[in-house]
Symmetry: C2
Subunit: 124 residues, 2 copies
DNA sequence: ATGAACCTTCAACCATGGTTTAAGGTCAAG
DNA sequence: CTTGACCTTAAACCATGGTTGAAGGTTCAT
């Protein structure tokens, strides 16, 4: 698969994919005789994973250590500990999100009780 | 309260607090006769809220629209809708986190089944 | 064999979220 | 009346995560 196809399948820009390779988030792609990058189908999944993790606030540096070993499939005894650390991070993230949710919910309730704007009243 | 005290109470740097004021995340502080900023106690809470939201991936721009109206306590009929939008955002965020959690969990299980490194075996 | 649509590299540019530095004013203690 | 800890602004600097542009090579259809 060439970089343009990969970009279409993942919704990422080609520049972003090249950028990720440069940063070590993707293993250097195989090259055809023409110098074009040639990707295996699995890379779609890798990129999707990267996007998800990133959306949750993991830095590229953090993501790199995990994904490289995954995609590579190499020996790399460090995989499981790395993933488990990430798992804890995600759990902490979720806990924090729930706290914020509670806070927001309370704030909204407070606002509605204290000083309901005419709009809100009309809303029902 | 002066900016240094506020910094100590929140764990933020003074430069960061001034930066937030410049960006409109904090209402411009009252000034003493000497020109020093003078903060009400409530600002500690505002800053804590900002940090939390930020840790969850909200941009300063996003946070601004919410916090300014909160701290100000002004009429601002737009408060509740804004908060409710944030609430949806947080919920989406949590859902995404849970998906990633599941994925990580599966990945770890897979790794442990497929190719347990000696360390992991010795671990039990 | 020419144009469109790909691909390559490399360097410059951009926004975000700050920190650092320079040059100076304020204030309390000794 | 000076020393040290605080405060002020403004501008420069930094890392992160990309995008954009220039200059050029490839592939394919017409």
């Amino acid at each position: 698969m060439r970089i343009g196809d990969l970009a279409r399948k993942t919704g990422l820009s080609t520049s972003r994919i090249r950028f990720y390779e440069g940063r070590g988030l993707l293993p250097p792609a195989e090259r055809g005789g023409n110098g074009y990058r040639d990707y295996p189908d699995a890379t779609v999944g890798t990129l999707t994973f990267i996007e998800q993790a990133q959306a949750l606030g993991f830095s590229l540096r953090e993501i790199q250590s995990a994904t490289f070993s995954i995609e590579g499939g190499v020996a790399s005894e460090s995989i499981v500990p790395t993933l488990e650390r990430k798992l804890r991070d995600v759990e902490a993230h979720i806990a924090a999100s729930l706290r914020l949710w509670t806070q927001l919910k309370a704030l909204i309730a407070e606002q509605k009780l204290c000083c309901p704007p005419e709009d809100a009243v009309a809303d029902r």
